[in-house]
């Protein structure tokens, strides 16, 4: 058995506001990422390569909030976070607050494979990128007219409270199981529109937005990052499966509709278990998502 699931963010676009053209753009982007990752699995590739490939394709697609087309900080810059985890060896790599790395997921993978660290942030992460011969890009590369428009409207509007996190705008992620039985997870994001520079959400935090452990599950989350951090969301799902014997669907449901609801946080997540069972659930109006497996399932959905 092999399988992959992807997400392009939860709660990003209200159903009423999604025009047919935009819906088509989102669906095309999701299909390309899903099939790109799946093709690798089909050729006997690793789940690690599959999730990295799917996430890279979503980063490059301007509709999603990661890489090119990421949400902008209050200073009008893109500040990107990403993480990848290999369930086989429990290895992980992550970067946060990078501004000049075209594909943050590639840098996260490099941190995992070429450094003895797990998380590098800010200018230090970019220094590492240069040491690893990454070609840096100007911050402008990430900026799109649509994101600038969103930033302007956010900055015009009155915030309800400084203590309530604004709604997130659609992180991307992937989880996969390969034919050798290895699980992997990857997540990448620009965070929230109009965020304070230096703000890091759950995506690059192992156990919060991203987690993978062979024999248990792999998880990638999207939503109100601060709540997902406090709930240690991704690890919560896996520990509920491992320690309490819940099914993956039960564990995800409890987290999203029990724990996070009580805390006041919304979002969604995708998860896959050792048998290739896929769960995609959300507490928001919708979540861009897709799933494909060796048993013939292939679906793209938004609401």
């Amino acid at each position: 058995m092999y399988a992959i699931a992807i997400h392009g963010g939860a709660g990003a676009v209200p159903r009423a506001k999604l025009s047919p053209e935009r819906e088509r753009a989102y669906r095309t982007g999701l299909e390309a990422a899903l099939d790109g990752g799946y093709a690798l699995l089909e050729r006997g590739g690793s789940s690690l390569d599959a999730v990295a490939t799917a996430v890279r394709l979503l980063e490059d697609h301007p509709s999603f909030n990661a890489g090119h087309g990421a949400a902008l900080t209050r200073d009008g810059a893109a500040e990107l976070d990403a993480a990848i985890m290999d369930g086989r060896q429990m290895r992980a790599g992550a970067v946060a607050s990078v501004r000049h790395v075209r594909n943050p997921i590639d840098l996260a993978r490099r941190v995992m494979e070429k450094s003895r660290h797990v998380l590098l942030v800010g200018a230090g992460a970019e220094e590492f990128a240069l040491e690893e011969h990454f070609i840096l890009v100007p911050n402008q590369y990430f900026r799109t007219a649509e994101r600038l428009g969103q930033l302007e409207s956010e900055q015009r509007g009155e915030r309800v409270s400084d203590l309530v996190p604004p709604v997130s705008q659609g992180t991307v992620g992937a989880v996969a199981l390969d034919a050798s039985g290895n699980l992997a997870a990857a997540t990448s994001t620009g965070g929230m529109t109009n965020k304070r520079p230096g703000r890091v959400g759950d995506s690059p935090i192992i156990g919060a937005g991203t987690y993978a452990k062979n024999g248990v599950c792999a998880v990638s989350a999207t939503g109100h990052g601060e709540y997902f951090i406090r709930a240690v969301a991704a690890h919560h799902v896996c520990s509920a499966v491992e320690y309490r014997g819940l099914t993956l669907a039960q564990a995800v449901h409890e987290l999203l509709h029990g724990i996070l609801r009580r805390l006041g946080g919304d979002g969604g997540l995708i998860a896959i278990d050792q048998a290739g069972g896929i769960v995609m659930d959300f507490s928001t109006e919708g979540m861009f998502r897709g799933a494909r497996d060796a048993a013939g399932r292939r679906e793209i959905a938004i609401y």
């Binding site: 985890m85 429990m90 290895r91 992980a92 946060a96 607050s97 070429k114 450094s115 003895r116 660290h117 797990v118 998380l119 590098l120 942030v121 800010g122 200018a123 230090g124 992460a125 970019e126 220094e127 590492f128 040491e131 409270s161 400084d162 203590l163 309530v164 996190p165 604004p166 304070r196 520079p197 230096g198 703000r199 890091v200 959400g201 935090i205 192992i206 156990g207 919060a208 987690y211 990052g225 601060e226 951090i229 406090r230 240690v232 690890h235 919560h236 520990s239 509920a240 320690y243 309490r244 805390l263």
Partner: protein
């Protein structure tokens, strides 16, 4: 009748006795309060410890432990108690946090800290700050005054300025012993690079590399809190963030389970989500706190090759301090009369 005569009198005595015991109960056995601190695991080999240094570390740990305990004893919150203890150790140059933190490859202290309130739960953290005297206080401001949990780098210092925190120059953190350690680490790194040119980013293992500080506390109202602060690893890559500021990895508190602060090789703690895992084992596997800590530190971390220790506390006031390194500077004090400072396994009592 005559045989039963003394009975009412004895009963009255008994009732009086019981009554006074009941009246005294709230004062004699109030809800437990407790604080546990650590000043790092595997900091110094026992063979390299001199009596003077040991006395100095013990004094530093005692001051932090008592500062935190006094807050609890006065009826203060566990949050204020862990802050008081951690701030003491940040200000004490012998610990790897705040002043006297280890230096990165550029010769700067780059500091990480996190705090978590078991009620809520709420959390705040900062990473990669270079001009904040007490990073634990900035972490608390992130929790109390921002909608966020984690702020890093310049953005975190920008927030500090907005909150009226006075920044200090980088020289404030630097001490002669840490500069010496950096020189040694650079020399060792150069030698390693020569022998093995493919690994450039070494996890420098040397004195002071694991001297993170932390505290967990339980207050009279039953709230748990955890706080951790560190300078990370000597000669670390700029931007490297360990487990300390990551909620669930190095720091975690939840009134439904327990409060944990870790110290050790951070990368292992991140991958295994150590602090949360202790609480998940308590909550879901119904292990005692001591069993959960043992499972994580002596079985899971050991299996993966990760070195270090954790301190933990639950709502019943149960204390666990365990490590798989040569030692862990630590202290515990509670309202049942326990007060101890220890460094190595054999000196623990």
């Amino acid at each position: 009748m005559s045989r039963r005569k003394p009975t009412p009198f004895a009963c009255v005595l008994l009732v009086l006795g019981a009554g006074s015991a009941a009246a005294a109960a709230p004062a004699a056995a109030p809800a437990p309060i407790a604080i546990v601190i650590h000043g790092g695991a595997g900091v110094i080999e026992p063979s390299k410890m001199t009596p003077e240094r040991e006395a100095s570390y013990r004094a530093g740990l005692s001051a932090a432990l008592d500062a935190g305990y006094e807050v609890l004893d006065r009826g203060g919150t566990s949050l204020d108690a862990v802050i008081a203890a951690v701030r003491r150790m940040e200000d004490d140059p012998q610990f790897n946090a705040g002043r006297g933190a280890v230096l990165n490859q550029d010769g700067d202290a780059e500091l990480d800290a996190a705090i978590m309130d078991g009620a809520g739960p709420r959390a705040g953290a900062v990473a990669g700050v270079r001009h904040v005297k007490n990073p634990i206080e900035l972490a608390r401001l992130v929790m109390d005054k921002s909608p966020h949990v984690l702020l890093v780098d310049d953005g975190a210092e920008d927030f500090a300025l907005e909150q009226g925190v006075v920044l200090v120059p980088r020289g404030y953190f630097r001490t002669a012993p840490r500069e010496h350690e950096l020189d040694e680490a650079r020399r060792a790194e150069a030698a390693r690079a020569k022998a093995q040119p493919t690994t450039r980013l070494g996890l420098t293992e040397g004195a002071g590399s694991m001297g993170t500080v932390g505290a967990v506390a339980l207050d009279r109202t039953g709230n748990l809190a955890a706080a951790t602060s560190t300078g990370g690893l000597t000669n670390k890559h700029r931007g490297r963030v360990g487990d300390t500021p990551l909620i669930g990895a190095g720091t975690y508190a939840n009134n439904e389970s327990c409060a944990v602060s870790g110290t050790g090789q951070g990368e292992y703690y991140i991958r295994q989500v150590v602090a949360y895992d202790v609480c998940a084992l308590v909550n879901y596997r119904r292990m005692t706190l001591a069993q959960a800590v043992h499972e994580v530190v002596q079985v899971k971390l050991r299996r993966s090759g990760g070195e270090g220790g954790v301190i933990a506390l639950d709502r019943g006031g149960n204390i666990a301090m365990d490590f798989n390194s040569v030692g862990m500077f630590r202290g515990a004090r509670d309202s049942r009369g326990r007060r101890e400072i220890a460094m190595y396994r054999e000196t623990g009592h």
